[in-house]
């Protein structure tokens, strides 16, 4: 009897003990810093990040008046489609190419998804060489151009986008491939018998069935474009020529670490959070309307 009672008591506390480690980490490194970021964004902080004075919305007003911050916002919104659209198109083509399982298909599946394993730092270092300004740069050589990719304010963001696209195609490929392979084989077979060609099959059958994955990668690409940091730092130091690559995340880093203006960094962090929140909400709202479920 006593052991039974103990067991019952034990399992009353037990679930909370199992949850303790993860909740502790969440409390210290997610919820607390989030509350801190929100609250401190309404204050003036000293150079070590301690709040000195409550100023209400002043930081936000100052930011939205600042041409530098508006430039960062504009770049962030410009950068998302610059990365997202090519990444999706390339990922889609690769997944369409690999959609059929066959002997040896794993070899090119691994190749198509390989950029995913590459960190942005070494990738940036390699692309820095490929995007060299002179005729010794491979990209200029292929295009027969003399574009000063990383040095020209007009092209620096495009150059960073090219690297980011390359880094992201692997993940797009994997999700879209899963989507295409969800198509039941009988459906493919019967469409073949009906005489449907490859493109009819791709656009009329495989693409509609893969809509959950398509939807997912589009939002994934938007959100990952907001996180591009290492490539910007390594390819175009200090936010690029005339701040042409100074996207929000880079601006947050600069405000906090270079300028020790923590209240500015916190304010910009909250703007970044709100942008991602809105995009996530749009994703949730539209998903059930747009997505085709089997």
């Amino acid at each position: 009897m006593s052991s039974l009672g103990k067991g019952r008591n034990g399992s009353k506390v037990a679930p909370y003990l199992y949850l303790l480690p993860c909740m502790l980490v969440f409390a210290i490194f997610v919820f607390w810093p989030f509350i801190k970021t929100v609250v401190y964004s309404f204050t003036i902080t000293d150079t070590r990040g301690n709040p000195i004075e409550f100023v209400g919305l002043e930081n936000y007003i100052r930011q939205f008046k600042s041409p530098q911050f508006r430039n960062s916002l504009k770049l962030t919104f410009k950068f998302a489609p610059m990365v997202g659209i090519p990444t999706f198109i390339i990922g889609y083509i690769l997944a369409a190419l690999a959609s059929e399982r066959m002997r040896g298909s794993r070899i090119y599946e691994v190749m198509y998804s390989m950029p995913m394993a590459v960190a942005s730092a070494p990738a940036s270092v390699i692309w820095f060489m490929l995007l060299s300004s002179g005729q010794n740069g491979v990209v200029n050589w292929i295009l027969n151009s003399e574009i000063r990719w990383l040095l020209d304010a007009k092209t620096a963001l495009i150059a960073v986008a090219i690297v980011t696209v390359w880094l992201n195609i692997g993940a797009n490929f994997i999700f879209l491939l899963t989507g295409f392979r969800n198509v039941p084989t009988e459906l493919i077979e019967s469409s073949r018998i009906d005489g449907a060609g490859y493109f009819t099959r791709l656009f009329r059958i495989m693409t509609p069935i893969a809509t959950p994955q398509i939807f997912f990668v589009v939002f994934l690409d938007i959100v990952t474009s907001f996180q591009a940091f290492a490539q910007i730092r390594l390819l175009t130091p200090n936010g690029g020529p005339s701040y042409s690559t100074n996207v929000l995340i880079y601006s947050i880093y600069q405000s906090a670490i270079r300028d020790s203006r923590y209240e500015t960094a916190f304010t910009q962090s909250i703007v970044l959070f709100l942008i991602i929140l809105v995009i996530t909400l749009i994703q949730f709202k539209t998903e059930d309307k747009v997505v085709y479920y089997q």
């Binding site: 067991g7 199992y18 480690p21 909740m23 995913m116 960190a119 270092v125 010794n136 740069g137």
Partner: protein
């Protein structure tokens, strides 16, 4: 004859798909190739795609320029702690959510969900301040602490645990097996494939991290390889072949783990993320 034609087409298609694959990984291949070039060869017009006069000093020079093995060691230690830590905390939490019924279960589950709505980058400066206030900069604790659990890991493990039949748990309880022993000696061993998926995913994510280690480390003793990459680039800007040799060495572990674990990684990535 028709059969032969079909076979030829299949082979041609296969070769075509492989060539596209070579194109996709061509930046990596060119990076490797360029890492064997001297500055003068890197400047040649038109660019040499393969070295005409290959040099290997670049690889020795990386090791003279930065303590690469120290950086690699740091990255491996950080990856190991994060992988073990995340698998433990996530599977314990997932166990609680799948095998217990308790007060506040819904709220705690919502709390886990809520963490997914807060992007890491929007709280990274606040976390950096926490670490520096606690005087933990330049420690392994700083590098790993925020990553010792993740909502994604909890959901992923929970999904795997929910496939375990309830009868198994009942039978174990009848035999006098407590929750902790059931978790440790039955649930975890059964979930090996899920654990492998999560492990490969966490490895690549952690190994490739840049912003967080940049913020919390200041000394070469504690830096990870990705930050080492950035230091090498500043130190050897003139001899770019050396920078590329460093990049190649930094790439090897993550590409290797990716090739070996690709099967698990794909399973893990596609299991929980999309309804379908």
């Amino acid at each position: 004859m028709r059969w032969n034609k079909a076979k030829v087409l299949t082979v041609l298609g296969f070769i075509g798909k492989l060539l596209v694959g070579v194109l996709v990984i061509s930046p990596i291949l060119l990076g490797v190739s360029f890492s064997f070039m001297s500055p003068s060869e890197l400047a040649s017009i038109p660019p040499h795609l393969v070295p005409h006069e290959p040099v290997t000093y670049t690889y020795q020079k990386v090791l003279q320029s930065i303590p690469l093995f120290r950086f690699l060691g740091n990255s491996m230690i950080v990856c190991t702690i994060v992988i073990v830590g995340q698998i433990l905390t996530c599977s314990l939490a997932a166990y609680a959510f799948s095998f217990f019924h308790f007060k506040g279960q819904r709220i705690l589950f919502l709390a886990v969900l809520a963490t997914m709505m807060i992007p890491v980058d929007s709280i990274i400066i606040a976390n950096y301040l926490t670490i520096s206030k606690l005087k933990l900069s330049d420690t392994y604790i700083a590098l790993v602490a925020p990553y010792l659990t993740s909502a994604m890991g909890i959901f992923f493990m929970r999904q795997s645990f929910l496939t375990i039949p309830k009868e198994l748990h009942e039978a174990a309880t009848v035999d006098g097996c407590g929750h902790f022993r059931f978790w440790f000696s039955i649930v975890m061993p059964i979930s090996k494939p899920a654990i492998a998926s999560l492990g490969v995913y966490i490895f690549i994510q952690t190994y490739n991290q840049f912003l967080w280690p940049l913020l919390v480390t200041n000394t070469n003793n504690m830096r990870t390889v990705q930050i080492g990459m950035s230091i090498l680039r500043e130190a050897e800007a003139v001899d770019y072949g050396t920078v590329l040799a460093g990049a190649v060495m930094v790439l090897i572990p993550s590409v290797f783990v990716f090739i070996v674990g690709q099967k698990y990684l794909v399973k893990g990535m596609t299991a929980g993320s999309v309804k379908g």
